[in-house]
């Protein structure tokens, strides 16, 4: 659960006609963003519903850095007002459709950043962004051998000798 701190009205400008949210990153940066932009995040939407129930505005503390948060906001701003199939809870899961071109450019970052974005997107419950990041990671390791995958993902072979020699590990063709 995120920590929620109360803020007075002067902290969140423009309340009323254009509703704004105050997001606080783990490095204590305060970012003001339009509620409409972040409506793609189910987590934020739920928080906002909570505000409406208590009729109090709060800042939302998020457990990731401002750099990552800004990336997520950039994504949400880009698709502001767009219908994305992946975000529709009633829609069937998307199949093998290719990555959107803009997403490809947006996710052209190093591995660690990509992982931070996917974690943040998962936390904020932005399914389309989780899907795009997951697809980008899947594309990174596509067609690679197990060793190459380990190198790309930065993990070590941690199978015990017994697991390593199980029949399903050996049968490669």
């Amino acid at each position: 659960m995120p920590t929620i701190v109360s803020v007075d009205d002067s902290t969140v400008p423009g309340e009323g006609s254009s509703r704004l949210l105050l997001l606080v990153s783990s490095d204590n940066k305060h970012i003001v963003v339009e509620e409409d932009i972040m409506s793609r995040s189910r987590f934020i939407s739920k928080q906002v519903e909570g505000f409406e129930a208590t009729s109090q505005r709060h800042a939302i503390l998020l457990p990731f850095s401002s750099f990552v948060l800004n990336k997520v906001i950039e994504y949400c701003s880009h698709y502001r007002g767009y219908y994305l199939l992946e975000d529709d809870p009633d829609a069937a899961p998307p199949g093998r459709s290719p990555v959107r071109e803009w997403d490809q450019e947006f996710l052209d970052v190093d591995r660690n950043m990509l992982l931070r974005i996917i974690k943040a997107a998962h936390y904020l419950e932005i399914k389309s962004l989780v899907g795009s990041c997951a697809r980008a990671i899947a594309d990174m390791i596509r067609g690679k051998t197990t060793e190459e995958m380990r190198e790309i993902l930065g993990v070590e072979n941690d199978f015990t000798p017994e697991e390593e020699h199980s029949p399903s590990s050996k049968c490669t063709g």
Binding site: R100, E101, H122, A138, E156, F159, P167
Partner: protein
């Protein structure tokens, strides 16, 4: 490495293996079997500790290891969809995505605990060991099976071995594919045996929701008569290409999507396989939930049968898409007896075997009532033999017309015939199509989406765009599949170099322009000026911005993505108010 940890582990290990730090003996021949076994046990135990330590290090160091299981599941399922296991040649199989489960323990755990990942099985593309493993690991999850029966002699026994009633009872979707190949007599017997084996199991597939059977052999295959007469209560989607159905026998009460090629084969087909209007109407009446109906090959003339065959209209209360391709006039009249829901969106596609003097018979039908075409597709057929002229008896269709409309009428269509004839080489029929008068009373004022197919150079000109679509002021999206249409449209949308904007108000609401071929990037057009599309698009965008009607999207095919030209265009168009360029893959056909 810290000294402390090294000392600690050496001390620990020495307690278990006393001679650990002694110089290695020349040979182990003096070591007893018991000692050797004890050493192996120690090494194994150390191996386990070593793996556990590495696992701990992975948790600490590798950020990917710390991702939630749900996210890891997403990554693995995308990888699985992108790289299914395949068979390279007779005895060599590629495992596709499966090596991903050998990366580390956590990934393996996530993969093994997601039965859905293992439920997509390609029989004949996978080693029997893996088919067995995937069936086991998928537990009781519904299966998505793909079966290729192109190689019946080598793979038939594997397919038959796994396709048993208990497995079929779990099948949710099934694709049966057969590529083109020539068979010897014994192979042909194997193929038929295999096909009939599969068909005989379909009544066992009680969970089956989608069945697709496609073949590329020359003749149509006749499916067994009782294949859909019982069972398959959950079947929602049925697609058959070059497989003929017995229409008299079909009973699929929950079917929602039906796509069948009912073109008769070269031989005389068995009774019922090429339906009479009454058989087809009875079959459709037994499918009350039908939403999409796509029938190909209703070209036998049936005019004489119509009067006494169809007495009541055919109610299709949920139909949203009707596509009848290669259809004769008698069958068009038959389609007129369909009752479709009020306000349903319907797309109709006709491909006619004979030319008609004009399009008026069909378009006048729409002109007077409240129906208005909202999307239109003009698509000359490819690979169609061109004919001498329209009076010739062997005239072939070379253009397909699709109109999508809002319908509020009970009767879908009763026009006696419909065709759109464009001969790509001869001017007469082209001129006829492109004469606005031949469009009858068609009102394009509400047309929103326009798709234009490939055609020869003289079909589309700037003047024709204005003549045909000058009044289509609601068009928001245009897709051009051919280079000529693209060139002429860009010209039509672009002011002249001297800045004359008098005649460029075409499509004032245009938001999206999609080019399937960018003219100067097409190798087949060596003479096209290198900068034409770029400069014209930028000029067009500038002019539209000045008028307050900016283009929001320009879509280009994915294969051009890496071209320098595209990056230049992207930079230029950003300056002149494009929102962003949307890639080809985001295009969704409006029809």
């Amino acid at each position: 490495m810290s000294k402390d940890s090294r000392l600690f582990w050496i001390n620990k290990a020495q307690a278990r293996i006393p001679s650990l730090l002694q110089p290695a003996p020349a040979s182990l021949c003096h070591t007893s079997d018991a000692t050797r076994r004890a050493l192996e046990d120690e090494v194994e135990a150390i191996g386990i500790i070593y793996s556990l330590a590495k696992r701990r290090r992975n948790i600490a160091n590798a950020p990917i290891y710390a991702l939630p299981a749900e996210v890891l599941g997403h990554i693995i399922s995308f990888a699985a969809a992108a790289e299914p296991p395949t068979r390279e040649c007779r005895r060599f199989y590629k495992l596709g995505w499966i090596p991903l489960t050998h990366v580390c323990q956590r990934w393996r755990q996530v993969a093994l605990s997601s039965p859905n990942l293992w439920a997509n099985i390609h029989l004949a593309e996978m080693h029997p060991f893996w088919i067995f493993e995937m069936l086991r690991r998928s537990m009781q999850t519904p299966l998505d099976l793909s079966v290729d029966i192109s190689n019946p002699t080598d793979e038939g026994h594997i397919i038959r071995g796994f396709l048993l009633p208990p497995v079929m009872a779990r099948v949710r979707t099934m694709d049966v594919d057969q590529g083109y190949s020539r068979y010897s007599r014994s192979e042909e017997a194997d193929r038929l045996y295999l096909l009939h084996h599969i068909c005989s199991l379909i009544p066992h597939a009680t969970q089956l929701r989608s069945l697709r059977m496609v073949q590329d052999v020359q003749d149509q295959e006749y499916l067994p008569r009782n294949i859909f007469s019982s069972g398959t209560p959950n079947l929602r989607t049925l697609t058959l290409r070059d497989y003929a159905l017995d229409w008299a026998d079909i009973c699929l009460p929950n079917l929602m999507n039906l796509k069948v090629d009912i073109e008769p084969g070269p031989q005389v087909e068995p009774a019922g396989y090429y339906p009479t209007p009454i058989q087809l109407s009875d079959a459709l009446r037994r499918m009350p939930l039908l939403e999409r109906l796509d029938l190909y090959g209703l070209f036998k003339d049936i005019v004489d049968d119509l009067d006494h065959d169809i007495s009541d209209p055919i109610e299709l209360p949920r139909l949203t898409m009707l596509k009848l391709t290669n259809i004769s006039s008698g069958w068009i009249e038959f389609a007129g007896s369909f009752l479709i829901p009020t306000r349903a969106r319907v797309a109709i596609e006709f491909c006619c075997s004979r030319p008609t003097p004009s399009l008026s018979p069909i378009f006048t039908k729409y002109a007077g009532d409240t129906r208005r075409p909202r999307a239109m597709r003009l698509d000359p057929l490819q690979n169609t033999p061109y004919t001498v002229d329209s009076d010739s008896s062997d005239y072939r269709p070379s253009c397909r017309l699709t109109v999508a409309m809002e319908s509020d009428s009970a009767t879908l269509l009763s026009a006696p015939s419909l065709s759109l004839t464009v001969d790509n080489r001869r001017s007469k029929p082209v001129a006829r199509l492109m004469e606005p008068s031949s469009w009858g009373g068609l009102c394009l004022s509400e047309l929103e989406h326009l798709v234009v197919g490939e055609s020869e150079s003289d079909v589309w000109t700037k003047a024709r765009w204005f003549a045909l679509f000058g009044r289509a002021r609601s068009v928001a999206s245009v897709v051009t599949h051919g280079k000529w249409a693209a060139l002429s449209l860009i010209k039509a949308l672009t002011p002249d170099m001297d800045g004359d904007e008098a005649d460029v108000v075409l499509f004032p609401k245009l938001l999206r322009l999609q080019l399937a071929v960018v003219p100067e990037l097409d190798d087949r057009l060596p003479w096209t000026p290198g900068q034409f599309t770029h400069d014209a698009l930028v000029r067009c965008a500038q002019a539209r911005l000045r008028r307050g009607v900016p283009l929001k999207h320009v879509c280009i095919p994915r294969q051009y993505e890496q071209e320098k030209w595209v990056n230049r265009l992207r930079r230029s168009v950003r300056k002149v108010g494009f929102h962003h360029a949307v890639s080809w893959d985001t295009f969704v056909s409006v029809i």
